[in-house]
Symmetry: D2
Subunit: 429 residues, 4 copies
């Protein structure tokens, strides 16, 4: 198979071990990812951000293919059982392609809004392991143990820990692809870094114990490449992933979904309710088949139907989100951003909402986001030199040493535009 | 308003006359374009081609903004009434944004498949002129004559013909944007050309009659820019727009829609039929509101429901398209590609289909595409020099002189994969 | 060795067979190419065009490395002696790096202006074969026959004709690199094409005789890639290589050099005359060592000294070229561009020059350029399909069929700016 | 005038006030910059880094043109005398073009190596103010006070301080252009940032005193743009400007120049000594005309001649640099990198050199580089918000707050390759 990709150019999966990618692409579970946008509702703020999880999954598998080339160029000194065999390569490619297979619609909104809904990682595991899925059949037909090993990789567990971290770690194929792809689609240039150079900078840490060699950065060649990779992610968080309009839209949709479940639980009637939402409303577990029926279109379709809901708050929010009449945000700083401060602020804002005839639970709220752009992993990335011991990246890097462990956070009040000025006044902002 | 666009970078609409763009973006009719992909089902062949008509509409308006800057830099010698006034600029920007407003879902498939469905240009006109739409209200509130003038521009009619051709002509803002955007999204690099240089190459033809100055290319600076623009379009047709997998998918969806209408007309029952399709099935005109409810998601949702249709051909096709189990194509050349030849070929292929138990109308068919990449316009693009008369581009250009009037065509048999080998055998291919 | 290249990104020569590139890069003859600009005086018209032949030579070797990967992916069906052995690869890499080794300074100006000066291809051969050069020593130390085989490749002769054509042919590594590099440096975007896709499109023609398999284009995947490659070259000729300011500057420098030789032959005195020019003036052959001393800096230095020459025409031209006070051009069309017409035009122009006190041989002249962008090769590029015979590219390609054999030509009068208006008047232009 | 630039695309200087750029480009002093590479000998490490100071000067003037557009979009609220008049614009454009006019050859090597040689800023001032130069004539003919005002701008002094800082400050047109241009030429992608967005993010600080409004960053839109700009410069220092091979080559050339002056002072004979070097050797001031004769070619030519010098160290170094046989570097860390430690290290290394028959002053040395990537300016960049006071960038930015005032330094021993192993051994490294 040979494809054009806007990020990686010519993407080919042709070798024997790469046939697993071609086979998996033919399954309905992977095809479903075409109907889920990688960045959820981000296109409401960045009109170009319309790319799907399908394109990203393909890209992640392609980065893995390139990484395997590098691994094989450097695995010579390792004992046989720690090298990248064809079998290991096959499961790594499959895991890269499938790492987000269980992702719900509209980014993380579904799992966050629906009470009791399992996280997407759990769904990935279920899809891969359940014998009813085509993905499971494809994997099992190669080797009955393959589904379990792929799930292990996705969860960061594998006999070769360096492969596990390449699927899920601080420097994994997921991030390698999404930073470039999200930058390409949004037009934000800050997510760019040099993938070829980064892969070329990888070495096995020489002093790693025989049981678990780890990938490390070549200090002589690779520092700027890894620094640019880490700062690219920081920039994307600041510029795109935590963008106020996107966050406001996400808050609105979470509220719509949660309110719809409440309405249903209270015996209310809503049209076009997806079976998975029905199950959640009834407090029943969501069936795998029902979950896989969910995609962006299904949720948008439901929210469109709910514009005519009897519940006025639900109806109002559903209308606003479709018309892109987004809520406003007020960022909180200093004392107001502390745990106590937020409580006082939201209480004031809810009073204002109530006094103006708005539902204080659906038309005003808090949105708290926080991320640690670098250094959160238990085992830090290591840097190796021609001589001397491997050293942690944060000790070696001029730039990253200053970033390590720092937390970037945004605390925002989200509220209907009609409430913005009165709330500002009430809070004395 | 200031936005990031992956194609044009920083896109701003801030001047007084540009407020019309901001106002129109707030209407539900323009927001609907977010739910229609620019290239329909092309993402089945080029995974990156997931961009919406909304992003393209914004881009076209931005190209118009840049074109207006150029026009004002060169309109000095024209009499006042032929210059770009603020009023003219406003209607040009609105027309650029709205030029595809009436586009149906899934590219041209809806209007081609549904018997009696008006073309998308007609719907654009209706949306703009109908007083019930928000777009009409925005335009009318500026000037009651504005909707009609915008429609005129979209149809290529205007007191300033050079503006009309800039909205709809061989070198219009639509093409200027879509070539770059489709190239960016698909990763096909052949659609690139130099927009800045092309705009900068525009002049008013000096010998144009006083009643209608026309834009022309500066022969000293602009030939390669316009040549690259024309060949970019040729390359995009060859590589993307006429790609065999896309054309096969489009053929399948047209067949699904047409068959669904037949089923309904015959009194069959189908779930999730959009009201617009119901109207068509009943032979009634489609109401504007029903048309505007259509988008890619609505049609995909309907086709998903029709996987369970009683009609086996409809059900089969619907299942295949969702699973991306696309039909195959056989390109016809020489005698077989002539009008008579095609008839013989399709007759043979249908016989094979019938003998194998497939419906010869839904599982085999002809797909004929033809395009004239350059030279089809009544009034050719002219080239001007410091001295001497303006000359037609095809006379001046080494490359385009050889392309003018040539027709690129593709004649293909489209058929279920199961039929491919038997049909090849029967046709002796 | 691992390098950053602005065109190809990460450029590495690390394998055993690639060591030849590293060794050759260390020779003074290859290092000399750092002092010769790839596009001569083109930077007078395109300020960015300052890249050296050294950078291009490296790039051509890197394209060869990538081509070898492709050749080895497809050479399986060939008999052993026709495959790419390590030995063949080594000579192909060396030939790619050295293909322009004998290039003189300032593009082709030296060999065109100095009477009796051998062409640069001859100098390449001499440098490679002469036992006194470091290049020869490096090659011979690997294999005494290597210098001769490398020369053969550069001249298009080799036991594997497909390798010879890859070094010197319609689709060779030289063109593959220079189109991209010249486009990158000038900022002209028309020289871009998709190198990865083009290489991936190569196949061996199945029906080629056993004695000489030829590379061909895969008709199913590669047509747009090769079409874009060919038109890129056409665009670069139109836009850059035949640019009027560059051509005028080149005409001036050729005239300076030729006049300097005349002055020296007549016993005149000039400062800073390079030994190679002295030899030419004396009618003696140029010694290899003297030739290798020539570079752009040496010639610019000499021309700077000649600003103080006793010969007023020489002095005047030398001053103008350093100050970038370039001559003007008048392009001739129709009858005036024919062989007879040109003679009449130049005679008139020279009369004007004479009557105004200018030397008619140094301050006015003709510049004739002509190029066949496609189809000039004896053995046409072939296109292969899954079925059926290979077909010539010009028969298969919609675009190229129309270009094949067409000649692009520019006939220009070059003259001092002071003469422009009087000559236009005298010619009735 | 309209040009193609590989960094900025279409570069035009056409308005009335922009004619000053066109006139200045015609002067020999500006044309001289074509013969000086922007990055000196960096092309020995990054083969693409062959761009000239001329291309950069043009680029800086173009960035100024774009900045002026932005300034005029925001200067409305300022009193008339603080706005950008045509006169102010003209001097800003001239200063941007001329800011490096006095730059010597081979980056800063000449002024650093030649004892008593004025810094390049002094030469810029002299060229602009000296009535004998064409640059002075062009400026004076517009306005006799213009040369002095241009010099003021280049030195950061002007009645409009925001203009002065735009020519010479933490965020000036020089950096804006060179980061992009050096990244483009080297192929290092880390120097990229979003120029359009950065310019668009500029505001006047509202609370600035009436006497001196200052440019500030719009906190709502511009933080990532300025952060990427600052980190781009950090990356370029780490990756390119402080590259060990470049620094070694620079150290060698400084040593060559200093040793040549010593040889001349001691009465030794050298060929092709540029008059400016003669003056320095005699302890006389360098004449302006002699300084302007210097360019990269002149120095390379001299160093080539000095390969035959009687002084063996000079001859050896000159031969090595031309053959790109560069010295090696050993980076010092910890105690060895302190002032005292360095002295000990260099003493040991010189002993080794002496004992091996090398001149300890020419074949071994220290190279110390240090740079403060952010925060070194007296007046910090400020950030403004819709409400509230302007705040210093380092207080606002998550990333830059951690970088402010940090110093990046590299301490390296530079030595002939033959000395590397013995010195490592002697130092116990």
């Amino acid at each position: 198979m040979i494809l054009r990709d806007p990020v990686h150019g010519l993407v080919a999966f042709e070798g024997d071990e790469e046939q697993i990618v071609v086979s998996l692409l033919g399954t309905p579970e992977v095809q479903r990812l075409r109907r889920v946008r990688q960045l959820g509702v981000t296109s409401l703020a960045f009109p170009g951000a319309e790319h799907s999880r399908f394109a990203h999954a393909l890209g992640a598998a392609f980065v893995m293919k390139q990484l395997l080339v590098r691994l094989r160029a450097i695995h010579g000194p390792l004992p046989d059982h720690q090298r990248v065999s064809e079998e290991r390569a096959r499961e790594a490619l499959a895991a890269a392609l499938l790492h987000d297979l269980g992702h719900g619609p509209l980014s993380h909104l579904f799992e966050e809004a629906i009470p009791g809904a399992p996280a997407h990682e759990t769904w990935t595991e279920r899809v891969v392991l359940d014998p009813s899925t085509a993905v499971n059949r494809v994997l099992s037909s190669v080797d009955p143990g393959l589904p379990a090993r792929v799930v292990g990789l996705v969860h960061g567990r594998h006999p070769l820990p360096y492969l596990a971290r390449a699927v899920s770690g601080e420097l994994d194929v997921d991030r390698c692809d999404y930073l470039l792809r999200d930058a390409h689609a949004t037009g934000v240039r800050y997510g760019l870094y040099d993938l070829d150079w980064l892969l070329r900078s990888l070495r096995f840490a020489p002093d790693a114990g025989a049981s678990a060699p780890a990938l490390a950065i070549d200090g002589a060649k690779g520092l700027p490449a890894i620094e640019a990779f880490i700062t690219a992610r920081l920039f994307m968080f600041q510029q795109v992933y935590l963008h106020k309009a996107t966050r406001a839209a996400e808050w609105m949709i979470r509220t719509v979904l949660a309110r719809a479940v409440e309405v249903l639980r209270a015996g209310g009637r809503l049209d076009d309710v997806p079976p998975a939402v029905w199950s959640a409303a009834r407090g029943e577990p969501i069936a795998l088949g029902d979950y896989l029926e969910l995609d962006d279109g299904v949720l948008w379709n439901a929210m469109h139907a709910w514009e005519r809901a009897g519940d006025p708050s639900l109806s109002d929010l559903a209308q606003r989100i479709r018309a892109r009449a987004l809520f406003k945000t007020l960022e909180l700083f200093g004392e107001q951003a502390t745990a106590d401060g937020r409580e006082r602020v939201i209480a004031v804002a809810r009073d204002v909402a109530r006094s103006r005839g708005f539902d204080p639970r659906t038309h005003v709220g808090l949105d708290v986001a926080s991320v640690e752009p670098f250094g959160g992993e238990a085992a830090p990335l290591m840097v190796v030199y021609a001589k001397g011991p491997a050293r942690p990246l944060h000790e070696v890097s001029f730039l990253l040493g200053r970033l390590a462990g720092q937390v970037l956070s945004r605390v925002r009040l989200v509220l209907a535009p009609e409430l913005r000025d009165p709330v500002i006044h009430a809070l004395g902002l």
